[in-house]
Amino acid sequence: MKITLRGEGLRGLKQPRAEGEALVTQMPISFLGFVDPNTGKVIQKGHELEGKNISGKILVFSTGVGSTVGSYVLINLARRGLAPKAIIQRESDTVTLIGAVVGEIPLVHRLDQDPLNVIENGDKVTVDSEKGIVEIEK
């Protein structure tokens, strides 16, 4: 089954399209203290994704919270080739967005259906940041 979601994306990236496996959390993310920037592994105790690795995944979450230094965590991950392949948010936030702008990570939000309801862990997901389109294969 193939589902297409339409919304708004970050434009002007060199490579706006990405394809990968979905990693979904219902919890918001504060990137500082959430993930080890050297490995991509989630280290925040009690977070739904604790122990998982966000590198190379299509990371799906509601919004960014907490520290305003979170952008640098994403940029450091991108610098080491360990960033998520793309980010899908229900509603984006400045800190996550700036991390995506500088780290060249495709990002979409404000989709016509709630991505946290539609996308499940392990789904094959294609993101087009330029067009704001998400395709999900179940």
């Binding site: 708004e8 970050l10 434009r11 002007g12 918001p28 504060s30 500082l32 203290g33 959430f34 920037p37 280290i43 925040q44 105790k45 509601s62 919004t63 960014g64 919270v65 907490g66 520290s67 305003t68 230094v69 979170g70 952008s71 640098y72 965590v73 940029i75 450091n76 991108a78 610098r79 509603e91 984006s92 936030d93 400045t94 800190v95 967005l97 700036i98 991390g99 702008v101 500088v102």
Partner: protein, 395 residues
């Protein structure tokens, strides 16, 4: 986003690579969040200073920014770094960390960013009037500026705040627009809050419950600065609350009855406080998240009447200007004579801490970050109890 001719020229690189980069970031932000135009800001505050949190990516980005020697267009202050710039060896900081940390601070200074290295710029002259636009990062300062002073700022990332500082403008969206600042949820605080720490504990719970919504806090109308600091810091750490209202400062034109409501009663507060109690003797006690004010340093110097126990250490964090004033009054000497240390330029969250088992702090925000940032378990008590425990007194 609409750009005027000057802004367009900046984006084309006519005023140098640094300004082009700054404008590019502001345009990406403005386009993404549908800002109509850029608006002037009064001042800015930039986070992303500690080498621990920013890493090599931070140095890369700053080097690119500093390339064509831009100067900030407005007064811009800097957040805490990863170490006391004079006493870093006492904090167990390595030479290589110190070298990189100094380089980061020098890069900021080269752009005219004031190296106050503090998370409470509003105590050091970087303040704004109600309704004035600023561009602040450092989540606790964002919430304080919006809520206590009534200034208008989004929760900027360190990088977007720096871009705004260089251009002197920010995209007009989010909390810069008055209609977006109305309360979205109501929190009735039906409990006795007896210390600034209690405000932090309550704020932490609100942030956890409401994520990024704008709460109206009922039954706490006379908030003082210390209470507002803890409240702001905690709700911006567990959530991304960038603005709260209280009964006395709210805008009236909304229908309160239709809003979702949460009640924090005495039982709820007591349970929260119990869950944050230390379960064993802490080996480090940390005060100063957000940075300790001059009034609190005076209070600590009065409370600390006997030496710090040899089973624990007491570290107090503040900014260098405040430490200088406290030093001239003899507070720092009184505190350090008892075996405690007063560090500047850094804080419990962004400094690479030496190994400790259990940290006790008066800050819900510090307690939130210590376990993941420094692998130190954490507990929370009001300032007075922290000082008593530091000297081995029973509470």
């Amino acid at each position: 986003m609409y750009l005027n001719r000057e802004e367009e020229k900046t984006l084309q690189g006519e005023y140098g690579e640094s300004k082009r980069l700054a404008m590019k970031i502001l345009c990406a932000l403005g386009d993404f969040f549908h800002a109509e135009k850029l608006i002037r800001i009064e001042s800015a505050h930039v986070s992303g200073v500690s080498y621990k949190t920013g890493g090599d990516a931070l140095i890369d980005v700053l080097e690119k920014f500093a390339e064509s020697r831009p100067k900030t267009a407005v007064v811009t202050s800097l957040n805490p770094s990863g170490m006391d710039r004079l006493r870093w060896r006492e904090m167990g900081i390595t030479d290589s960390f110190a070298t990189k940390q100094n380089k980061i601070i020098e890069l900021y200074q080269s752009m005219g960013v004031l190296s106050v290295c503090s998370c409470v710029p509003y105590e050091l002259g970087n303040i704004a009037k109600s309704g004035h636009h600023v561009s602040f990062s450092e989540s606790s300062a964002v919430t304080f500026m919006n809520s206590f002073l009534g200034a208008y700022t989004n929760r900027e990332s360190g990088l977007s705040a720096l871009a705004s500082a260089i251009i002197g403008k920010t995209p007009e969206y989010g909390l810069h627009i008055p209609e977006n600042r109305n309360p979205e949820v109501v929190v009735e605080i039906d409990a006795k809050l007896t210390s600034p720490t209690d405000y932090g504990v309550v704020g932490y719970s609100i942030g956890k419950n409401f994520g990024s919504k704008i709460p109206l806090l009922q039954k706490i109308s006379h908030l003082n600065i210390q209470q507002a600091k803890q409240l702001s810091a905690a709700m911006a750490a567990s959530g991304s609350i960038s603005l709260f209202h209280t009964d006395s400062c709210t805008r009236k034109e909304f229908e309160e009855k239709t809003l979702e409501k949460m009640v924090i009663d005495q039982k709820h507060l007591d349970e929260l406080k119990d869950s944050l109690d230390p379960t064993s003797q802490p080996d480090i006690i940390m005060i100063g998240c957000p940075h300790t004010s001059i009034g609190t340093l005076r209070r600590i110097s009065e409370l600390l009447k006997s030496p710090v126990s040899n089973r624990t250490q007491l570290w107090i964090f503040t900014s260098r200007p405040i430490k200088m004033i406290a030093g001239s009054m003899g507070y720092v000497q009184n505190i350090e004579r008892m075996g405690a240390r007063v560090f500047c330029d850094t804080c419990p969250v962004v400094s690479p801490m030496p190994e400790f088992e259990l940290a006790l702090t008066d800050s819900a925000k510090a307690a939130h970050y210590l376990p993941t940032m420094s692998k130190i378990e954490s507990a929370v008590k009001p300032l007075e109890d922290c000082i008593k425990i530091a000297t081995g007194e029973r509470i």
